[in-house]
Symmetry: C2
Amino acid sequence: MGISERKTREREERERRIVLAARTIAEREGWASVTIRRLADEIEFSQPVLYSHFQNRDEIVGAVALEGFGELAAVLRVAIQPSSTPKQLVEDVATAYLDFAFARPAMYEAMFVLPTGLRFARSDTPAQLREGFGAMATVIAPFSKDVDTATETFWAALHGLAQLERHGRIRPAFRAHRITLIMQMVSGQSR
Amino acid sequence: MGISERKTREREERERRIVLAARTIAEREGWASVTIRRLADEIEFSQPVLYSHFQNRDEIVGAVALEGFGELAAVLRVAIQPSSTPKQLVEDVATAYLDFAFARPAMYEAMFVLPTGLRFARSDTPAQLREGFGAMATVIAPFSKDVDTATETFWAALHGLAQLERHGRIRPAFRAHRITLIMQMVSGQSR
DNA sequence: ACATATATTCTAGCGATGCTAGATTGTCAA
DNA sequence: TTGACAATCTAGCATCGCTAGAATATATGT
């Protein structure tokens, strides 16, 4: 009775193709070009089929964002080299975070700006959403008693840097300076 | 020959009414409800009239955002009390900034998230866009040699806190803790 | 094997949106 | 009064997210 198995397999494959198409179009042309009609064309099914996979367009964005959180977490973990000093680790993670944000603006937008319907801080929150935070907490821990709050603040600083620079509010040429400043701030060193 | 004066006066008045309507609707129902048709209804003119004032919808959002920058600057200036200590000033400005962001989410969204077509860091950049930054620089200056970069970083941290909390990514209950952390970080005090 | 029931998928369309071309109206100077 | 010009409106285009209901394919029962 492998028929129903094949069907669910095909369904999952189709869903992956939807998410991949959304991601590809977003990265190439921006999220405004990710329309239901366009995605339907891409997977060669009619539009209503998409609504049997996702409740609405926001959920598709959310599916892409979820992949993004997994990849961000991986990037941050790679940045954490055991041989580095605690201060160096903070700087490396900060740099890796911003590199990710600027290298994949559409993905970052899906993760942090667009409505996605993703649930944070809940019992059913997917692991990907916690892992990135965990990586940041790892490098913050040596410098703080209240690790969670300190990590939240660190994260917020990085997110703010990414957003303000992307919108042309702060000077791109001074990105490294600002990272240094954050690193020094976190590590508790004056000036 | 006061006729043409009257006409330009009426035009300006009409433009103010458009911006006010956009702002009011956005604050009450969100930016998605700010449609050209709705605004046209509000000012009792047909839709094309709006396009004789603004090139497109984004420019209307931008006009509201511009007001917001003026008001944010005013709020920050009020928070700067000469009698306070430098450290207290940093905390007060940070608190005032976040209070503004949470009290007027739609306005803040127009200023920092939505596309507006506003030009920053240019010769023709309106004064409002610089004043808020100036107020933040005032309280950061005592703690930094490179004031501009330090202010950018401070600003980014505040913006990140506002955005992450608004999207439910960090714990609202710990907002004050995070502000304290930032204040301590900026003032160069360990832990 | 055939009829019936059940999924699955599609066609067609609704109610919006931002924006605009072209007709219409109002306002001046000659 | 007429003719030019500016201001404004009517009507509509293309596109969007989303969905009801028809059509088709698949599974089940006899």
